[in-house]
C-alpha cells in the first residue's frame, strides 16, 4: 500500500509539473503577456512599457520566469489581483465555499437519483423504463447546461414564480430557508449531467455484478431480493463508481462555472468570468491552476479510495 501511495504521489507530482507548464504557456499566449494591462493606459510610451517589463522581470529568459512563477505558486504566493490588489489565493478562497456548497448538494442528490435509475434499469433491463432512461440520459448529456438553466428560470421563476431567478440570498433576508430556495434551481441544473452519467455507468456496473456467483449464492442461501440487491449487488457495483466520481470532477467544475453564471451564484466560476472581463490575469490563472489541482487531487483520492475499498486490487 505504501509503495502504491508513493508511486501515485510521484506520478501526480509529474502531472502537477506538466499542468503548471500548460498554465504558464496559456499565460504567455496573451498578446503582450502580463503587460497587456499597462499597454492600454492612455499616453503610455514604449520606453515606459520596457521599464515596467524590466521591473516585472519580463525581460529575463522564459525558463527563469517560469521557475520564479512556479516556485511562488508552490509557496502559496499566487500574486495579487489587478482589480483590487487583494492576494489571489484569498480572493479565490472567499468564492470557493459557494461553489463547493453548490457542487456537494447537487452531486449528492444527483448521485443518489442516478444510482437508483441505473439499478432499476439494470434489474428491469429492456423494460420501457430502461429505454426511456437510456434515451433520457442521452438527451440530458446533449443539452447545453446554460440553456437548461434558462429554461429552468423561465419555468420556475417567470411562469410559475415559485423559485428565485438567481443569487444566493434575497436582499434583506438571510434565513436558511431563503438560501435553500435559491439553491434548488442551480443544483437541479448542475445535477442533470451527473444523474445521466451515473445512471448509465451504474447500469453497466450492475449488469456486470448481477450475474456473479456471489449474487447467486446469496439468493440460494435464502436472502430476500432486497438484501441481495442492497447488501450484495449494489455494494459491489458501487466500487468502480468511485473512479467514475473522480473522472467526473472536471465536468462538475465546468458545469458549476456555467450554472453560477446563469444563476448569478457568487462562486469560483462567476469570479473566473468576472476576472476575464476585467483582464485580471492573476486571478484567471489562479482559478485555472486551482481547478486543475483540485481535479488532480480528486483523481488521486479516487484511486486510493478504490484501492482501499476493493481488496481484490493488488497495489503493486
Amino acid at each position: 500500500m505504501l509503495r502504491f501511495l508513493i508511486q501515485r504521489s510521484l506520478q501526480n507530482v509529474v502531472l502537477l509539473w506538466l499542468v503548471s507548464m500548460i498554465g504558464f504557456g496559456v499565460l504567455f499566449l496573451a498578446p503582450g503577456g502580463p503587460l497587456a494591462q499597462f499597454a492600454l493606459v492612455p499616453g503610455m510610451s514604449r520606453a515606459e512599457l520596457l521599464r515596467i517589463a524590466e521591473q516585472m522581470g519580463l525581460n529575463r529568459p522564459i525558463p527563469a520566469q517560469y521557475w520564479e512563477w512556479f516556485t511562488r505558486l508552490l509557496s502559496g504566493d499566487w500574486g495579487h489581483s489587478y482589480r483590487d490588489g487583494q492576494p489571489v489565493l484569498w480572493i479565490i478562497g472567499s468564492h470557493l465555499g459557494a461553489t463547493l456548497e453548490l457542487m456537494v448538494v447537487s452531486a449528492t442528490v444527483a448521485v443518489a437519483v442516478g444510482m437508483w435509475v441505473g439499478v432499476l434499469g439494470a434489474i428491469r433491463r429492456y423494460s420501457v423504463f430502461d429505454y426511456l432512461a437510456t434515451i433520457g440520459a442521452m438527451i440530458a448529456l446533449s443539452i447545453p447546461t446554460f440553456w437548461f438553466g434558462l429554461v429552468t428560470i423561465y419555468v420556475f421563476s417567470v411562469k410559475l414564480a415559485i423559485l428565485p431567478a438567481g443569487n444566493m440570498y434575497t436582499i434583506g433576508d438571510g434565513s436558511f430557508w431563503d438560501y435553500v430556495r435559491h439553491l434548488i434551481a442551480p443544483s437541479l441544473v448542475l445535477g442533470l449531467v451527473t444523474v445521466a452519467l451515473w445512471s448509465r455507468y451504474m447500469r453497466s456496473s450492475m449488469l456486470e455484478v448481477i450475474h456473479q456467483d456471489y449474487v447467486r449464492t446469496a439468493r440460494a442461501k435464502g436472502a430476500s431480493e432486497w438484501v441481495v440487491l442492497t447488501r450484495h449487488a449494489i455494494r459491489n457495483a458501487l466500487l468502480p463508481m468511485i473512479t467514475v466520481a473522480g473522472l467526473q470532477l472536471p465536468t462538475l467544475l465546468s458545469g458549476a462555472l456555467v450554472t453560477e453564471t446563469v444563476f448569478t451564484w457568487p462562486g469560483m466560476g462567476r469570479l473566473f468570468l468576472d476576472s476575464l472581463s476585467y483582464r485580471d490575469y492573476p486571478v484567471v490563472m489562479g482559478v485555472l491552476m486551482l481547478s486543475a489541482v483540485l481535479v488532480l487531487i480528486g483523481n488521486m483520492l479516487a484511486d486510493i479510495l478504490y484501492a482501499v475499498a476493493d481488496p481484490r486490487i493488488r497495489l503493486d
Binding site: L15, P144, I153, Y154, S204, T251, L257, V258, V284, S291
Partner: protein
C-alpha cells in the same frame, strides 16, 4: 489506471460508453438473443434518426437562407420582438427586428462548421500523438500520454475561456482552440489501439519484411483502428458544438453580428419573460444537433465493434 470502466471523455466525461453492458451480460444470459437484436435495432433506429436529423439541419442551414425573403442581417425595425408564428417572420424577430429563423440558419452554418472543422483538426492531432505514443512507447510514449493526462486535468470550459479571452475571437481561431483542447480523447483511443495492434502477427510480419515505421503506422495499423477513431470523432463533433455554444454564450466565442447558436443565447436571458422564443429556439437547435451526433456515435459504436459479432 485502475479503472475497470473506460475513462470517458471530451466535454469531460460527456462521451459515455453506453454499450459496454451489452457485451458483458449478453454472453451470460442465454435468453438474450431476441432482446439483444431488439436492443441493437433500437439503437440503430436512433442512430438513423440522428443521421436524418443532421442532414435536415445541414440542408436547412446551408440551403434555407436562399428560400427566405430576408437575410440574417436585415433589420425590420417596425417588427421588433415579433412573436413566432404571428407574422411573415415565422420564428419571430429579435430586439433589432432581425428574422429569428434566418439568424438560426446562418448560425447553424457557423456552429456546425466549427463542430466539423474542430473535429477534423482534433482527430488529426489526437491520432498523430496517439499513434506515436502507442507505436514507439517507452519514454516518448509515456511523456506524450502524461501530457494527455495533464491536459485532461483542466476543466475544458476554464481552459477554453482562458485562451479565448487572450486571442482575437473569430471563426478560425475559435475552431482552433476548441480543437486544441479536445484532441486528448482520440489520442487515448488511438494509443490503446496501437499498443495492442502492433503486437499482432500482421504488424510483426510487416516489420520483419522491412516496412518503415511510417508505412507500418499508416498502412498496417491505423486502417485497423478506423472504427474506434470514427466513433470518437463523431462524439467529438457533438462536444465541439457544445463547446462553441458555451464560450459564445459566455461572450468569448463568435462575436456578433456573426450569429452562432451560442451567441444568439448570449443576451436572451434579459428578455426571458418578454421574448422567451429568443432563448428557446437556439437551445433546441443545439440540443438537436448534439443529441443527433451522440446517437450516431452510439450507433456506430455498436455497428463497428467486432466484439458484438458472436
Amino acid at each position: 489506471m485502475l479503472s475497470p470502466i473506460p475513462a470517458s471523455g471530451s466535454i469531460e466525461g460527456r462521451m459515455t460508453d453506453f454499450t459496454s453492458s451489452t457485451q458483458v451480460a449478453g454472453s451470460t444470459e442465454p435468453t438474450l438473443g431476441k432482446n439483444r437484436a431488439r436492443d441493437r435495432f433500437m439503437r440503430h433506429r436512433l442512430a438513423v434518426l440522428g443521421a436524418g436529423m443532421i442532414i435536415a439541419l445541414v440542408l436547412l442551414s446551408f440551403a434555407g437562407p436562399y428560400l427566405l425573403p430576408f437575410n440574417d442581417l436585415y433589420i425590420d425595425i417596425r417588427n421588433r420582438f415579433a412573436p413566432p408564428f404571428a407574422s411573415i417572420h415565422i420564428l419571430g424577430t429579435d430586439p433589432l427586428g432581425r428574422d429569428h429563423l434566418a439568424r438560426l440558419m446562418t448560425a447553424g452554418r457557423i456552429s456546425m462548421s466549427i463542430g466539423f472543422s474542430a473535429m477534423l483538426i482534433a482527430t488529426c492531432v489526437g491520432t498523430t500523438i496517439g499513434a506515436v505514443a502507442g507505436y514507439y512507447g517507452g519514454y516518448l510514449g509515456a511523456a506524450l500520454m502524461r501530457l494527455v493526462d495533464a491536459m485532461l486535468c483542466f476543466p475544458s470550459i476554464f481552459l477554453l475561456l482562458a485562451i479565448a479571452a487572450f486571442i482575437n475571437p473569430g471563426v478560425a481561431s475559435i475552431t482552433l482552440i476548441i480543437a486544441l483542447t479536445s484532441w486528448m480523447e482520440v489520442a487515448r483511443v488511438v494509443e490503446g489501439q496501437m499498443k495492442s495492434l502492433r503486437e499482432r502477427d500482421f504488424a510483426v510480419a510487416a516489420e520483419l519484411m522491412g516496412g518503415s515505421d511510417r508505412y507500418i503506422i499508416f498502412r498496417e495499423l491505423l486502417p485497423n483502428a478506423v472504427g474506434p477513431i470514427v466513433v470518437a470523432a463523431t462524439l467529438n463533433v457533438a462536444n465541439a458544438i457544445l463547446a462553441e455554444s458555451y464560450i459564445s454564450f459566455l461572450g468569448y466565442g463568435i462575436q456578433p453580428p456573426t450569429p452562432s447558436w451560442g451567441n444568439m443565447l448570449n443576451n436572451a436571458q434579459q428578455y426571458l419573460s418578454s421574448a422567451p422564443w429568443l432563448a428557446i429556439f437556439p437551445g433546441v437547435a443545439i440540443t438537436l444537433a448534439v443529441t443527433s451526433f451522440n446517437f450516431i456515435g452510439d450507433g456506430l459504436r455498436d455497428a463497428l465493434d467486432p466484439r458484438l459479432d458472436h
